[in-house]
């Protein structure tokens, strides 16, 4: 028995390293975009960086500090009521999972919705929140609810919310900068190519193509991170409950339950345990979540 948890720990460590690499890659991508723009405009790259970097950091900090409040109000969630037996059971499950993971007890919220769903938010374990829909409380049994809460607790333990917020910030910044740059090139691009030699045209074209592709590229990377994090939280959650079958059954119920009562904006969607929007969106390349079937398969093979 002693050997198996070590395996999981190694696996989690590897995943965290991967995510770090992807995050670094995102930051490098952001810098490259700024560099490419500087090259096209003929401006000294240092000047562009000195302007763009504080702006990007400021933007990320703002997104970060308002994230909890905006998520809770976007979802229309309220604190769980211990007088209600279903909600009391939710509080119990969260308490059990916080003990299993050795983390402080998160605040427990409930969202009125017929759909089966749940999400976690917060900056660090000390100020985290776990929220489940009333649909989840009514339709999931104790074992399945435990699996779902274990998954959310793992998001908190892996600092997923923090990483996701920062990544969203970078993706947004890249999209914004690329947009501005492309617009600016319409006005100043001609003058610069006159000044520079003919050999630079190829480099110039590559730079422009790069700026056009960068937002798509960063968005896909973000999606890859978020999907990877879902798999990791599934594995981690199963390790907490020692019962992968609970979460697998819960995901099966979610799959069978048509999402028809989404609450909150699309920005909150990546936080949920399953995409709350139309089923067609759930399994596409642009989906923030891996296909439910694949997640169930992986849980069952543990």
């Amino acid at each position: 028995m002693a050997q198996q948890p070590k395996l999981i720990e190694d696996h989690i460590r590897k995943n965290k390293l991967d995510t770090l690499v992807i995050c670094l890659f995102m930051v490098i991508l952001l810098f490259s975009v700024i560099f490419a723009i500087g090259y096209i405009l003929g401006a000294p790259p240092i000047l562009t960086m000195m302007l763009a970097l504080p702006l990007a950091i400021f933007y990320i900090l703002i997104t970060y500090s308002f994230s909890i409040q905006s998520v809770i109000s976007a979802a229309g969630a309220r604190p769980a009521n211990p007088q209600n037996r279903e909600e009391k059971m939710l509080i119990y499950k969260v308490e059990e999972m916080s003990i299993a993971s050795g983390l402080p007890m998160p605040k427990v919220y409930v969202q009125e919705s017929r759909d089966i769903n749940a999400f976690a938010t917060g900056h660090k374990p000390q100020d985290s929140i776990i929220c489940a829909t009333t649909g989840a409380l009514q339709q999931l049994n104790s074992e399945e609810l435990e699996g779902v809460i274990g998954h959310e607790m793992s998001h908190i333990r892996n600092r997923d919310i923090l990483v996701m917020t920062v990544t969203v910030g970078v993706v947004g910044a890249i999209a914004l900068i690329a947009e501005i740059a492309l617009r600016m090139m319409f006005f100043t691009g001609g003058r610069n190519s006159d000044r520079k030699g003919g050999g630079n045209i190829i480099v110039l074209v590559i730079a422009i193509i790069f700026i056009i592709l960068a937002p798509i590229f960063s968005r896909l990377t973000y999606l890859a991170i978020s999907r990877r994090r879902e798999y990791l939280a599934d594995a981690d959650g199963a390790y907490l409950t020692r019962n992968p079958e609970g979460l697998a059954k819960a995901l099966e119920k979610i799959k069978g339950d048509l999402p028809d009562d989404p609450k909150g904006s699309k920005t909150v969607a990546p936080l949920y345990i399953a995409n709350p929007y139309k089923r067609a969106l759930r399994d596409s390349v642009w989906s923030t979540h891996p296909p439910l079937d694949e997640r169930i398969r992986r849980l069952r093979s543990m």
Binding site: Q4, P5, Y92, S101, G102, A235, A238, R242, S301
Partner: protein, 187 residues
């Protein structure tokens, strides 16, 4: 001259590197060890909490289950065994006894519809089940913490320093067979 300076600098860098690594390793060992103690405190809190709930349960059940003296006595005995246990493994064993006794009690209670309708009893049953789960999970967390600590002090190169710090392998709690197993993860 220049060569001496470079060699000196490299040696200095290596020494500083090893020192920094040692500081962080030392702190990690202390942190992991504290986590084990804290995990044990958690188990203790939950064990006490459950023992405190038993008298209430007995009070509620008494009027209904007069014919089940043996079942009730088993619970009371197991509770006092939990209260008087001296070391971790003893209290875990006593707690397993209590879990078994309570399971019998709740199974027997199925045949007393009046008791099943008692709001107080239902609430106690919920809370006792919840406390039992918390005990199981705090025990699991304790063993996870011990495993991490043992891995930290027994793997190379940490084991050299752990030996110098006088840190020894910690014992895991024996969990009864009925408990869940660790899932195998293959990706």
């Amino acid at each position: 001259m220049d060569l001496m300076l470079i060699i000196g600098l490299i040696v200095l860098l290596i020494v500083v590197g090893i020192l920094l690594w040692f500081f962080s390793y030392y702190n990690r060992v202390i942190r992991y060890e504290n986590r084990i103690d804290n995990a044990w405190a958690q188990i203790d809190v939950q064990l006490k909490r459950r023992a405190d709930l038993i008298p209430n349960l007995m009070e509620t059940v008494k009027g209904y289950m007069n014919h089940e003296r043996g079942t009730l006595e088993a619970v009371t005995q197991a509770r006092s065994a939990v209260m008087t246990a001296k070391n971790p493994q003893d209290s875990i064993n006593a707690d397993n006894m209590l879990t078994g006794a309570l399971k019998t009690l709740f199974a027997v209670s199925e045949s007393y519809p009046d008791l099943k309708a008692n709001q107080n009893f239902l609430q106690l049953q919920d809370e006792l089940t919840h406390t039992e789960e918390k005990i199981a999970y705090s025990r699991q967390h304790f063993n996870d913490s011990v495993l991490q600590f043992n891995n930290l002090i027994e793997t190379f190169p940490g084991n050299i320093f752990a030996g110098m710090m006088g840190k020894k392998e910690r014992q895991m709690l024996q969990i009864p067979e009925a408990s869940r197993e660790v899932p195998k993860v293959s990706f």
